[in-house]
């Protein structure tokens, strides 16, 4: 598992963790059954608070990306490839919805936005 935390980002740290880990799960980089590091160990290694890790893990669990077994820890959940695709698209669309608001604030039409997106992609 790869995680890089930025302290200067506007994004809360638990959100950064959630985004990075969920992307790795939904691209199949972290396979079903992969064990996440124990909360307190992860906190020490990443130098962030225990509560922050807990929050990120809880968020991953709520989204159905990981499962928790009492006494054993957290594991990446098993998905079918259709489920994975659906969840990936949901997540990307959520992000796009936010970006779209920004484009709209400049009065961009969908066509104009697509044109610009093509240029930068």
């Amino acid at each position: 598992m790869n995680v890089a935390i930025s302290n200067t980002s506007e994004k809360p740290i638990y959100q950064q963790l959630f985004d990075q880990i969920s992307a790795q799960i939904l691209t199949g980089e972290l396979p079903g059954g992969y064990p996440l590091p124990p909360i307190r160990q992860a906190a020490q290694e990443l130098r962030i608070s225990v509560i922050t890790i807990k929050k990120a893990w809880e968020e991953l669990e709520r989204s159905g990306l990981i499962t928790t077994t009492t006494g054993k820890g957290c594991f990446v959940a098993d998905f079918s490839s259709e489920e994975m695709l659906r969840m990936r698209n949901d997540m990307i669309m959520k992000q796009m919805a936010g970006d779209t608001d920004y484009y709209k604030s400049f009065g961009l039409s969908l066509e104009e936005a697509i044109e610009l997106l093509k240029k930068v992609y």
């Binding site: 809360p12 307190r40 020490q44 130098r47 962030i48 608070s49 225990v50 509560i51 922050t52």
Partner: protein, 284 residues
């Protein structure tokens, strides 16, 4: 289980007063205790440890009342107030031999493990230790008598960034197994942004807020807006400043209407402390 349970501590001095200081720390976590100089951090800590007598209130540590179990509890508490200003011409070894006699559960093996881990040389004199090494020596003593609660007053002040980082790393490794709890006061908020789980903020002798760090910051909003918009929020701001770029102010999240066209962000711990300090100024 609560490592610390502080309820309604009051202490009146001619020019300063602790008022109804209450906060709780769950076992196995790190709490940062913040506040400006003179806000009441050290007075609170000393009252908790019965080093000064509070006028009223109750302190429970590891579930036991401090007032009734002081001697017993002090075996389980490690505390450090900055430096070591006694026996400064003695060697570490000599001072340790004196201190360890006071502790029933002293463990020589644990002690030598921590000396090695903290790279402390037993034959050095106290006067020869740097500020960081003194803090580490204090920690080594506390951990060797099996302390479960560490209460540290400004352990990181006076340390350079490398030594501070080193110390924070040690704090996090101490809470790894969930048995040790740490309360440390500081005014260097960057030390807390990362490693603290909970924040308790004391201002002018009163607890302003005590909660988990994210929640603590999310209680407030930092507003940036045009001076012409200031009147819409002015009454509700904790404090604000105006300059040629507009105004910046701190507000309780609940007092802010997000529909207003004013940029609102979640403040850092430092920004929260600064705007609370400004509030004091406006009253003076």
């Amino acid at each position: 289980m609560l490592a610390l349970d502080i309820r309604n501590l009051n202490k009146k001095y001619p020019n300063f007063e602790l008022r109804d200081v209450s906060f709780q720390l769950e076992k196995g976590y790190i709490m940062g205790f913040i506040g400006a100089n003179g806000a009441g951090k050290t007075t609170t800590i000393k009252s908790m440890l019965n080093l000064i007598q509070a006028d009223s209130g109750e302190v429970r540590i590891l579930g036991k009342k401090m007032a009734e179990h002081e001697t017993e509890l002090k075996q389980e508490i490690g505390f450090a107030f900055g430096g070591i200003d006694f026996y400064t011409r003695s060697k570490i070894k000599t001072l340790t031999d004196v201190i360890k006699k006071f502790y029933k559960n002293w463990n020589d093996d644990t002690y030598s493990t921590y000396l090695r881990r903290f790279k402390l040389d037993e034959n050095k004199k106290i006067a020869e230790l740097s500020a960081g090494m003194k803090v580490k020596y204090n920690l080594a003593i506390a951990l060797s008598h099996g302390a479960k609660v560490l209460i540290l007053d400004e352990p990181t002040s006076g340390l350079d960034p490398v030594a501070r980082d080193d110390l924070l790393d040690i704090f996090q490794s101490l809470v790894l197994d969930g048995e040790v709890s740490i309360l440390f006061s500081t005014h260097i908020t960057s030390d807390l942004e990362k490693c603290a789980d909970f924040i308790t903020f004391v201002d002018n002798g009163k607890i302003v807020n005590s909660s988990d760090k994210e929640h603590f910051r999310e209680t407030y909003r930092l507003l940036n807006g045009k001076e012409s918009d200031l009147h819409q929020v002015k009454d509700k701001l904790i404090s604000y400043k105006v300059n040629s770029f507009g105004f910046t102010g701190l507000i309780h999240a609940g007092d802010f209407d997000p529909a207003l066209d004013i940029r609102a962000t979640i403040p850092s711990l430092e920004e929260i402390m600064i705007f609370f300090a400004k509030k004091e100024e406006t009253y003076v």
